[in-house]
């Protein structure tokens, strides 16, 4: 029996919806309507958690680091128009987020990414879909064919591939590829992504591999 997925949401309707979607995806489910219940449910060793940031007792933002500390990957459900809260949740250790209204199939796809990263083969993935990274030889390939990249583009693509379909915030990518002093230099990232897309997207004006998360960051399309 696989370990269950913990749902933390105070709305019974959303919990029912999530239970139906997760069962369809073949997952076991644990339910919590408050932050306290969520912390109690940790004893039953859930494999991942889906958390609504608005909880009656505990701020969802407080719950995230505690779940992350217990090695439980967190998918945040957000009804926010503002992107700041999502970025803050990701910074606190959430693995990914989904904005309401979301699609059941999309939720399952995001969970797959989350669980793959949490699984034994996780950590520094070197391939994602048609993309493969050979760090030792500084080589990147698209469908087996080598791509000519600048060192910066290579570092950026490697970071995205290592993210394995998970959203990576602008600040995280900038810090990793350009260094901590460039956390806010979003124009560097935008320009580099555009260059990268011209090299790997079949139709750069309609990106399908490197997806933009408005105001938050980038992710690779699920394979």
């Amino acid at each position: 029996m696989s370990r269950p997925i913990l749902i933390v949401d105070d709305e019974a309707a959303i919990r029912r919806l999530l239970i139906a979607v997760l069962r369809r995806g073949g997952h076991g489910v644990l339910e919590a309507s408050t932050g306290r219940e969520a912390l109690q449910a940790l004893q039953q060793r859930p494999i991942a958690a889906i958390v609504d940031l608005r909880l009656p007792d505990l701020d969802g933002m407080e719950l995230i680091p505690r779940l992350a500390a217990a090695d439980i990957p967190v998918l945040v459900l957000s009804a926010e128009l503002d992107t700041a809260e999502k970025v803050a949740a990701l910074d606190l250790g959430a693995e990914d987020y989904l904005t309401k209204p979301f699609d059941g199939d999309e939720l399952l796809a995001r969970l797959r990414v989350l669980l793959r990263r949490a699984g034994p083969a996780a950590g520094g993935a070197t391939s994602h879909g048609p993309l493969a990274i050979d760090t030792a030889h500084h080589r990147a390939t698209l469908d087996g064919a080598p791509i000519a990249l600048t060192p910066r583009e290579f570092a950026l693509l490697a970071a995205l591939v290592a993210g394995g379909g998970r959203v990576l915030t602008h600040a995280a990518l900038l810090e990793q590829v350009w260094g901590p002093a460039h956390r806010d230099d979003l124009d560097y990232l935008r320009v580099a992504i555009r260059a990268l897309r011209r090299k790997i997207e079949p139709e750069p004006a309609r990106p399908r591999l490197i997806l933009n998360e408005p105001g938050i960051g980038y992710r690779l399309a699920d394979r």
Partner: protein
């Protein structure tokens, strides 16, 4: 308080005392000898010098020496001096009187200086304690002015604006001195180095202050010129401090207000999006729902709700976080949600390869462009096209349809809420709420962009132009 002294009275007293001593010495009363009398005579000299200054002391010393010679030194009642001994007596007496008088006067001067300083620092301390009580800038100015008025009679504040508009009521020279004090952070006016002929003394509050302190000179100002400068300086610092506090409080209040508004909007968004999620997912599982047109209706509901939320967010006056945005991403997102309603209408996107980044709030920009494209799709016959051009400052995104177009008379009205379509009436049949373009224009304004109906496009239908500011792109560091 040692001042004011009456040197005349002191002089009279000293000379009277000298007269008595001389009378006693000359009549041999109390058996005073010549030497004892001379010694006694130094006392009035010391007295006069210590009560006045060195000049008066010296004058008294000379007068008494002459009287001593006239009345006591033989031959008496003449200015002649007989015998070397008496010459020496006279000279010694004169020297002692002058030197002692000088010392006494010096001590006096030092004592006076110390008193003045003590008085000055007392004034400064009193002023500091008074202004420390101030709770606001206005309170501070009122307290400081009252304090100075009590000490110096007339103290006033003039602002640069008053001086520039000549509404200060000051004489031209005084107004010029006041303006100079502000401009050069200096002391000007009465008895200063700049325009000393003015009636008032003007003191700056420090660099950057737009006000000046004016002290009338009907009562004497303290002779210590730096004292007044220090007082004006303290006042200026206190003003800056209170300004900083007030500014911090204003900012904190604004932040608290924004937080409350954000929380309300978040709650609103949550309350709207949560049931919509349930509805959407439930519908997706309903057999036959896909062909019922219901998913399209739910999508329309979502767009309407998002528009209302965006509108509420704009109304709340919350600042938008602008960032560099690639229009490729924006257009990809918009395509994602309009494709369903496009149906058979072709959405043709023509972007140049090298389109600069624009400066916008990325989520709001998707919203804005979504509204304009949806409007175009509603009115198009077969095609909606997106094209972009740019100059050094702007990217112009043109959204054109091949529909009936917008008559000249409606060119502005279509951006008003609840106006839609060629006849300007709300047309529910074609599903336009009439809010889309109005909110799109508000969003554009809030982001420093411009949404207009293009008249020069040459398209058959309507053409909108969205003009967005370019975001600077820097060279990537190695």
């Amino acid at each position: 308080m040692p001042l004011p002294r009456l040197p005349l009275l002191d002089l009279v007293l000293a000379l009277a005392a000298a007269g008595l001593i001389l009378a006693a010495g000359s009549t041999g009363l109390m058996g005073l000898g010549l030497t004892a009398t001379a010694l006694l005579l130094t006392l009035p000299v010391l007295w006069a010098a210590s009560r006045s200054n060195a000049t008066i002391g010296a004058g008294v010393a000379l007068a008494i020496s002459v009287a001593f010679n006239f009345f006591l030194l033989p031959p008496r009642h003449s200015f002649r001096i007989d015998g070397a001994t008496h010459v020496v007596t006279f000279l010694v007496f004169l020297a002692v009187a002058l030197v002692a008088g000088g010392f006494a006067a010096g001590l006096r001067a030092r004592q006076d200086e110390a008193d003045r300083r003590a008085e000055g620092s007392q004034l400064e301390n009193d002023f500091l304690s008074e202004i420390a009580l101030a709770t606001s800038r206005a309170d501070l100015d009122a307290r400081a002015l009252a304090f100075l008025q009590q000490r110096f009679g007339d103290a006033r504040l003039f602002s640069q604006a008053e001086l520039e508009t000549q509404t200060s009521g000051l004489a031209p020279l005084d107004a010029a001195a006041a303006a100079w004090a502000i401009a050069h952070d200096a002391v000007t006016g009465h008895a200063s180095e700049v325009m000393p002929g003015a009636d008032f003394r003007f003191l700056s509050f420090g660099r950057g202050s737009a006000d000046v302190l004016a002290l009338a000179t009907t009562r004497p100002l303290p002779p210590d010129t730096t004292l007044l400068q220090r007082i004006a300086g303290h006042w200026g610092h206190a003003r800056d401090h209170l300004d900083t506090l007030a500014e911090r409080q204003r900012r904190q209040e604004a932040e608290a207000r924004d937080r409350t508004r954000r929380a309300l909007l978040a709650a609103l968004g949550h309350d709207f999006r949560t049931p919509l999620t349930v509805l959407k997912e439930g519908l997706a599982r309903l057999p036959g729902a896909a062909d019922s047109g219901l998913p399209g209706e739910v999508e329309r509901l979502r767009r309407l709700g998002e528009n209302l939320l965006a509108s509420a967010r704009l109304d709340a006056g919350l600042p938008l976080a602008l960032e560099p945005v690639d229009l490729v991403d924006t257009i990809a997102e918009v395509r994602g949600f309009v494709e369903q309603q496009a149906g058979s209408i072709v959405l043709d996107v023509q972007l140049p390869e090298t389109l600069p980044l624009v400066r916008a709030e990325p989520v709001m920009l998707i919203h804005l462009l979504g509204n304009v494209v949806e409007n175009a799709l509603r009115h198009a016959r077969s095609r909606v096209s997106l094209a972009a051009t740019h100059d050094a400052q702007h990217v112009d995104l043109r959204i054109a349809d091949d529909g009936p177009g917008v008559p000249e008379t409606q060119a502005e009205a279509i951006f008003e809420p609840f106006v839609s379509g060629a006849d300007g009436s709300a047309r529910r049949a074609t599903s336009g709420s009439g809010l889309g373009l109005a909110i799109a224009r508000d969003l554009a304004l809030a982001m420093g962009a411009e949404l207009t109906l293009a008249r020069d496009g040459g398209a058959d239908g309507a053409e909108f132009r969205l003009r967005l500011p370019i975001a600077p792109e820097r060279d990537d560091p190695p």
